[in-house]
């Protein structure tokens, strides 16, 4: 079956900043893929490129088989019915001058779906699906809380029934308890409506909850792609291991007895990434070849997980930076 999303060798440079430097990734129909990375990793840029909110510098993006990489905007617009995006910041993701019902109905109006009455009904349905009462349709964004605004964003993105949703840090700006609600909502919507989802975040706990597969990004490139269980149980790439190790666990006994992997230095600037493996200056086990050659993202191990590391053998064995948590 055609995957919902196919990204092949995507490159996006902003002048000298190499935000995304050759990413290949697939999201199957109905699958949730978590894209994890820290600041400077390029994950948000990738999300925007995939939805053609940015022009690609190079590479290909196919959504449900349609190559949208270089399509003219006019030809692209009707295809936008099939994919959409929600953003992180509830304060700026809704037009303050539009009522909620107008916002949610915008994709329907733009794609001329249904009659006026049908659209109104559809808006009510979608609002209900995201857990908002129909009266909320008459309100304006400034009357809503952050959590409610994110629900409206979801309603907007899903009202035209897309088969792919890109979620760019949808819960990062919310309080813990609200995050829970929104994550639950996304999970429920995804299983009810069956859309594919590229879930971009730095929050590993959220990814572990929602995603079936996880891709880890560092400085513009993918370093590891694996199914959720494998990634969290036995991460292969040193950066993934460090990332998992660094995320504090809300359990004092465990947290304080863990041996944490401390990375030296900080994330370098994407303007002049290090030679060879981009992670090598901070990698506790880097060798000479790591500084010289760029490692390929290649399948390793029995299940064919993808890792980009010279020190990981074809059978999947590789460096273990710390004992299992």
């Amino acid at each position: 079956m055609t995957p919902a999303l196919e990204v092949v060798d995507l490159v996006k440079h902003f002048g000298a900043v190499r935000a995304v430097d050759g990413v290949t990734l697939t999201v199957d129909t109905g699958e949730v893929v978590g894209l994890v990375g820290e600041s400077g990793s390029g994950k948000s840029t990738l999300g925007r490129c995939v939805t053609r909110l940015e022009q690609l510098t190079d590479g290909t993006v196919r959504i449900n088989g349609n190559d949208i990489s270089r399509l003219a905007r006019r030809r692209l617009r009707p295809l936008r019915r099939d994919f959409n995006i929600v953003f992180q910041d509830p304060a700026s993701s809704l037009n303050p001058r539009m009522a909620v019902a107008e916002i949610v109905g915008e994709p329907l109006r733009l794609h001329r779906i249904g009659s006026r009455a049908e659209r109104a009904r559809r808006v009510d349905t979608v609002l209900d699906q995201v857990g908002l009462r129909p009266e909320v349709g008459r309100r304006y964004p400034h009357e809503l809380s952050g959590g409610q605004r994110q629900r409206v964003s979801l309603a907007r993105a899903l009202s035209a029934g897309p088969s792919l949703l890109v979620a760019d840090e949808p819960t990062s700006a919310l309080d813990v308890s609200v995050q829970a609600a929104v994550l639950n909502l996304i999970g429920r919507l995804q299983s009810e409506l069956g859309f594919a989802c590229l879930f971009i975040t730095h929050d590993l706990a959220a990814v572990e909850f929602l995603a079936q597969r996880v891709a880890v990004m560092y400085l513009g490139q993918l370093v590891e792609v694996a199914d959720r269980a494998s990634l969290f149980r036995a991460p292969r790439h040193p950066y993934t291991q460090a990332l998992l190790s660094a995320a504090p666990v809300p359990d004092p006994a465990r947290q304080r007895s863990r041996r944490r992997i401390v990375l030296s230095g900080e994330v370098p600037s994407p303007v002049s990434p290090p030679s060879g493996c981009r992670f090598h200056p901070r990698c506790p086990v880097a060798t000479e070849v790591c500084a010289q050659e760029v490692p390929e993202l290649r399948p390793v191990g029995p299940a064919g997980e993808l890792v980009a590391c010279h020190l990981v053998a074809d059978d999947g064995t590789g460096p273990r930076l710390a004992e299992a948590v």
Binding site: D175, N184, P252, Q255, V262
Partner: protein, 354 residues
């Protein structure tokens, strides 16, 4: 020049260039910081808003106390109220004692001495807290000059030591750099260095790692942890991140809608919490083992209060609430787990199975 009482009387300041570590002996007799019935009201154009509602807690010498809660619970306002760092429309009542001194009664001049010297702050956004047009060295130097009257080479040496203390590599070089040349984690370390330049008794850290990447966060937490042994500073940690609390805090005070609702040692709070809101917070973190049921949500929203209601402020969102909960304001009493909790129906102790 104001001094904190200590058994020896005068506070000893270690000479620049000498070892940091045991510059100050711990105080005996009484906590370092004692907050009693602290309330903060704001006069806004829409009326009065009650942000902090008779909050009481103590911080012992060299202790790390975490104030935990979500947005709107009043934890940040509490922290700022300690040294009256609030806008002019804020009305602060209650008592804040640092050692022997009552901070809320100090005149502005005395308070300025306290800020930075006895109580120092570290905030969430290092980029907006650091002056972008001054080098790191200049900014550190300014702090050292103001509070310790150090200048020139002596100040430089001390500044270098400070940067070393917070784990910044090549500190001498860093002194000449500008904030924008440093990464987020580095800037936060510089902020901490500036905050502890005068060896404050208390460091108030308001969401110090929230804006940082996870891999950088760990380093900052280590710095904060080491400050206790290196300089003898206590830390009041304001955060919503329970992972950070689990990592760093000795004791935890949970706040909700301006009130303290539970106080316990860290391990006790996580393992034997008593307040339903605390449980809600702990369960809001996605747990892979409970995936099937979804993440537990707390329905409803944090209320914005105008005055202190004569009932439990969490009652509207609590599954266990009944008429007793709305009858009057719950007191902070010892709960079934042996630590204070403000709840009429606290949670029972968990079963011993596990």
């Amino acid at each position: 020049m104001s001094e904190l009482e200590s058994p020896q009387g005068e506070r000893e300041m270690s000479e620049p260039g000498t070892a940091w570590a045991t510059a100050r002996p711990p105080t005996v007799g009484g906590p370092l910081l004692e907050v009693e019935d602290l309330s903060v009201r704001f006069r806004t154009e829409d009326g009065a808003v009650l942000a902090v509602d008779e909050v009481s807690f103590t911080v012992a010498d060299r202790e790390v106390l975490a104030l935990v809660g979500e947005s709107g619970c009043g934890k940040s306002v509490t922290a700022m109220a300690l040294t009256r760092l609030l806008p002019s429309n804020a009305l602060i009542t209650g008592s804040v004692r640092l050692g022997e001194r009552s901070l809320l009664e100090l005149p502005e001049a005395g308070l300025r001495d306290v800020r930075g010297r006895d109580v120092a702050y570290v905030f969430q956004e290092p980029m907006t807290s650091l002056n972008p047009v001054l080098t790191v060295g200049k900014q550190l130097g300014e702090v050292l000059r103001r509070h310790q009257a150090l200048r020139g080479k002596t100040a430089d040496r001390r500044a270098t030591e400070l940067l070393e203390l917070v784990g910044i590599p090549l500190p001498a070089q860093r002194l000449k750099e500008y904030p924008h040349q440093l990464s987020g984690g580095m800037r936060q370390r510089v902020m901490i260095a500036m905050a502890v330049a005068c060896q404050p008794r208390l460091l108030v850290a308001d969401e110090p790692t929230t804006a940082l990447d996870v891999t950088v966060q760990a380093g900052i937490l280590d710095v904060l942890r080491d400050l206790r042994t290196e300089i003898g500073t206590a830390v009041l940690l304001i955060t919503h991140d329970l992972g950070v609390v689990a990592d760093l805090a000795d004791r935890v005070v949970v706040m909700y809608a301006g009130r303290t609702i539970e106080e316990a040692g860290t391990e006790a709070l996580f393992a034997r919490h008593s307040h339903p809101y605390t449980r809600g917070l702990l369960e809001a973190v996605p747990d892979p083992e409970r995936r099937a049921g979804g993440i537990r949500e707390i329905p409803g929203r944090v209320p914005t209060l105008r005055s202190s209601p004569d009932e439990c402020t969490f009652a509207d969102r609590c599954g266990r609430a009944d008429s007793l909960c709305r009858a009057r304001r719950p007191e902070l009493l010892l709960g079934p787990a042996g630590h204070p909790v403000r709840c009429v129906h606290p949670l029972p102790l968990p079963e011993v199975s596990r």
